[in-house]
Symmetry: C2
DNA sequence: CTAAACGCTCACATCGATGTCAGGGGCAAG
DNA sequence: CTTGCCCCTGACATCGATGTGAGCGTTTAG
């Protein structure tokens, strides 16, 4: 298939696919006139690339895993294994960051909810309502 | 405290702190000569900001939460609550992406390990070793 | 007073994946 | 041959947080 179809099938723009190739993440056969040709297996390949990109891996990092995605070589495999475990650690710590942010956000959400409830109570005039004052420096 | 100390205490560069202020994430008192003055509470505030930034929130997004971090107003609170739940969803989905990438990576790691084991076996000459062939298109 | 260390503002540079435009071919249908 | 759609390369633009440097004032230690 040509680049347009691969783009449709993967959700990547043709521009991105060419970029992946330029970065060494993807290899394409060419027609005599220079147009790129891909096989079905490239769909999955691109999906993997995009998964990694979406996780914030740089194309440079992914490039170092590529040798290990297609036809592993001893050299590639050994080098890749270091990168992989390192990157795995990075992913885990990033996940932790996100989780921490989500918890902080949850906290804010609750404070916010409490404040709104208190304000509603105050507007009602009935003094009974949320436990504490909503004055926080946050 | 002045900006340098806040920087040391938060791990943010003075440059970043000024940027946060410019983006409306942080407010500072000024000495008559124009130097920024902060109180202890700003340390925590900056920490929160950095937590959110590290999670990939834009300063613009964080800015919309700020009214809700200090002295909540009805307006701010109402608007913020929308942003907050939206952003919470984004965080969750991002976490999922990262987790997916980590799983994909784990898969690669195992394939890689298997390949290396097979290669070692082949070098040993004893045909018994890893179960399948290591030839994958990835 | 002087020098060092710090602070201020302004402005430009950086990185990385992607968008977009320009100028030029390839290929199929009429 | 022409029209229309796809493709090619190359170059420049984008966004956002931060680095960096210039040029100039402030505060503090000697």
């Amino acid at each position: 298939m040509r680049i347009g179809e691969l783009a449709v099938r993967t959700g990547a723009s043709p521009r991105s696919l060419r970029y992946y190739e330029q970065q060494g993440l993807l290899v394409s056969a060419r027609t005599p006139s220079g147009q790129r040709c891909y096989g079905d297996e490239h769909v999955q390949r691109v999906a993997l690339i995009r998964t990694f990109l979406a996780a914030g891996m740089s194309s440079r990092t992914i490039a170092r895993l590529v040798p290990c995605m297609k036809r592993p070589t001893m050299d590639g495999a050994r080098r890749a294994s270091a990168v992989m475990s390192q990157e795995r650690a990075r992913l885990s710590s990033e996940i932790d960051s996100l989780a921490a942010a989500r918890e902080a956000l949850d906290h804010l959400i609750e404070v916010n909810r409490t404040f709104m409830a208190d304000a509603a109570d105050a507007a009602d005039g009935s003094g009974a309502g949320g436990a504490g004052g909503a004055g926080g420096t946050g």
